[in-house]
Symmetry: C2
Subunit: 354 residues, 2 copies
C-alpha cells in the first residue's frame, strides 16, 4: 500500500534531520517501518519515546543523573518528532507535546552542564526557554537559539553542546507559534519584539554578559534571527541557517503539509489567510539595517528554502558577513552537519569572545 | 546487479554500528549507494573520509582545535571502516589504516579532555594506546578498552566520552591482531598477558590510580576482557559486551568474511589453521577464576555471538555479576546503545569509585 503523502514529505525531507538531532538509527527505522497511514506516525514514535522515558525514570530513581539526562532528552526528542507535524490531530499533538516538554524538563538539572527552565515575560504572557551555562566561566556570553517552523526548544537543544564547549551559554526559546507558545501566540513576522523581550530578560540575569548576546536560528528561525538583528541592536552576532528571505514568495512550491502546519501555527482560519500572514515574514525592507556580524549558511540542495534567500540576505546586509553555501547540503544542511555546526560555533565564539 | 556477499555481510550486520559509532548518516548512505563490488568499498569510504580530513586540516591551520578534533576523529572513523574488513587488499588496507591512525593522532591533543598516544612495552615490542583523563580529577581510575575483531582503538574510542564524564580515564589499546599490532602480532587467546603488560605500564604512571583499573571489551574484546580478568587480579571490574565464551565453537556458522578476517589477523596460512587458533580463545576452563565484579551484556538478536555465551560466562564466574540480556539487541547491541552504554558506564563508575 502506498504511504500517505505526509509520510513521504516527512521522510524524504527529514531523515538526516532526525538522526543528526539525536534519534537513534534503529528507533527511526523501527518507528517508520511499514508505516502507511499518517495517523499512525504519532503513536509509533511515541511508542519508541516511552522506552527512553522509562529508562530515564529508572535512572532517576537510582540517582544515575547523567544517564537520566541522556534517556530523557532522547525521550523528549522522540515525543517531539512524534507530534512535530501532527497538526491534524490537535489533542494527541498537545498531549504528546506535553510529554516532550516534561521529559526534557526532568532532564535539565542532570545535564552536564545543568540546564534551567526559565520564563521570559512577553506582552502580558510568558515565553519559556532552557538556559545552560558553560562550566567554570564567569558571566559568559549567551546565544538565543531560535527553532524552525515545526521545531521547538527541545529540538534545537542539539546545537547547544558545541556552543557550551566553546564557552557560550545557550538559550533555546519557544517563540510565538513555536512549542509551548504555539497554542496562545501565533507566528508573527516581527520577531524583533520577541528578541527584545528575551534580551530584556537576559539583562535581569547577573550571571550572563549582556554585552555579548548572539542569536542563532535555523529554517524559519533562520528568518527570525536576522529579522531580529535588523532592529535589536543589542544583538552582537547573528547566525542564519537555511532561513527564508521572504517567507511567502515560494508559497506555491511548499508542500501541503508545510502550508497546513504554518496555517495552524499562525492561527489562520484558511490557507489564504495563512498566506497573507506569511507575507509579513520578510527581510526585504529591513535586511540593510543589519549591521552586526552575520554568518549566513544555506544548502545548495535545499528543497524547502531556495538558496537564493541566502544570497539575497548577504547582498543586503550592511555589516561584516560570512556567506557559506554548502553545495551538497539539504535544508538546514542536516545531511552535512560537519560543514555548518563546528564552523558556526567557532565563528560565534570568535564574535562573542572577550 | 547483485551486491558482493562481503557487502551484504557488512551492511546487514553493521549498519547500526557505523551510525552509533559516529559515522554521519549521509556519509554512510552515499558511501554505500549503488555499491556492487567489494573492492569498491574501501575507496568509496576513503573518499568520504578525505572530506573530513581536509576540514580537520583547515581547522588546525585556523587554530580551531575543538573542530579539528571533531573532523579528524570522524575522518579516522571513516578510514577505519573503509579498511576494517578489507583483508583481501592488504596494501590498500594498510595504507588506509595508516591514515586512520594519523588522523586520530592529530586529533588527540585537541580533544576535550585531550588525549595522549602511549606506547606500552609488550614482549620485546610495543602496543599503542590512546589515554584520556577526566578533567579536574586527581589520580582517576582507568579503564582498558579492548576492541573487537575488525575494530581498533580508533573505533572503541566512541565509548570513551561517557566514561570520561563519569570521572574515569580511558585507555583504548590495539592488542595483538588488532589495529597497529595486527601486522606483527597475531590474535592470541591468552589476553591476560596483554592486560598484565598494560597494567604494568599503568603502574608507571603517577597520574593514574593503579588500585582502580577496569577492563571493557566488546565483541572479540568481550572475550578478551573476561579472559584477562580470570588471570590478572589487578583488574577490579570487567565489562563484556557480546563476547564469545568459546570462540571456535560456532565456527561453521560464521560468515566467510568473518573467518577470512580472523585467518589474516591470526596470521594463519589456512582456514583450518585459523580454526585451530580460534580454539585457544576460550573461557571454558578459566571463567570460574573470575572473582572481580563483572557486567555481562548480550543481544538476544545477535547473529554473530550466540546469547548463550553470556549465560555460560555468567554461570561460571565466582564473583559479583550483572547479566543483562537485551532481547531486542543485535551484536554489541549497536541497535540499542541506550540499553548498554549508560548502564555499563554507571556500573564502572560505581565499581571504580573511591
Amino acid at each position: 500500500m502506498a504511504r500517505a503523502p505526509q509520510i513521504e514529505t516527512v521522510i524524504s525531507n527529514f531523515t538526516p534531520r532526525f538522526i543528526t538531532s539525536g534519534v537513534p538509527l534503529a528507533d527511526f527505522e523501527e518507528a517508520t517501518a511499514g508505516l502507511v497511514d499518517w495517523e499512525d506516525w504519532l503513536p509509533r514514535w511515541s511508542g519508541r519515546a516511552e522506552i527512553h522515558e522509562a529508562l530515564g525514570h529508572d535512572a532517576l530513581e537510582e540517582a544515575r543523573g547523567l544517564s537520566a539526562a541522556d534517556h530523557l532528552t532522547t525521550a523528549a526528542l522522540l515525543y517531539h518528532f512524534a507530534k512535530f507535524m501532527a497538526v491534524q490531530f490537535p489533542e494527541a499533538m498537545r498531549a504528546t507535546h506535553a510529554k516532550a516538554v516534561e521529559c526534557h524538563r526532568l532532564a535539565l538539572p542532570h545535564m552536564e552542564p545543568p540546564g534551567e527552565r526559565v520564563a521570559i515575560p512577553f506582552e502580558g504572557t510568558e515565553l519559556y526557554g532552557n538556559l545552560r551555562k558553560p562550566s567554570g566561566i564567569h558571566k559568559p556570553p549567551v546565544v538565543i537559539m531560535v527553532p524552525g517552523l515545526e521545531a521547538t526548544k527541545e529540538e534545537i537543544f542539539g546545537y547547544a553542546p558545541s556552543l557550551l564547549s566553546r564557552g557560550i551559554a545557550t538559550l533555546p526559546v519557544d517563540g510565538p507559534g513555536q512549542g509551548e507558545a504555539e497554542y496562545h501566540l501565533p507566528i508573527r513576522g516581527d520577531y524583533e519584539t520577541v528578541a527584545s523581550a528575551i534580551i530584556d530578560w537576559i539583562e535581569s540575569r547577573p550571571d550572563l554578559d549582556t554585552s555579548r548576546v548572539g542569536i542563532f536560528g535555523v529554517s524559519l528561525g533562520g528568518y527570525h534571527a536576522p529579522r531580529a538583528a535588523a532592529f535589536e541592536k543589542r544583538i552582537k552576532a547573528c547566525v542564519s541557517i537555511s532561513g527564508a528571505y521572504d517567507w511567502a514568495e515560494n508559497w506555491d512550491k511548499k508542500s501541503d503539509l508545510n502550508k497546513e502546519v504554518f496555517r495552524i501555527r499562525s492561527h489562520a482560519k484558511t490557507l489564504e489567510q495563512a498566506h497573507e500572514i506569511g507575507k509579513t515574514l520578510t527581510l526585504r525592507a529591513c535586511a540593510k539595517n543589519i549591521t552586526c556580524p552575520i554568518y549566513i549558511a544555506a544548502g545548495g540542495l535545499d528543497r524547502i528554502t531556495a538558496v537564493e534567500a541566502a544570497n539575497q540576505l548577504a547582498a543586503d546586509v550592511s555589516g561584516p558577513k560570512v556567506l557559506s553555501i554548502i553545495e551538497d547540503g539539504n535544508h538546514v544542511c542536516h545531511n552535512r552537519p560537519y560543514k555548518v555546526r563546528p564552523q558556526t560555533s567557532d565563528w560565534l565564539a570568535l564574535q562573542l569572545g572577550e
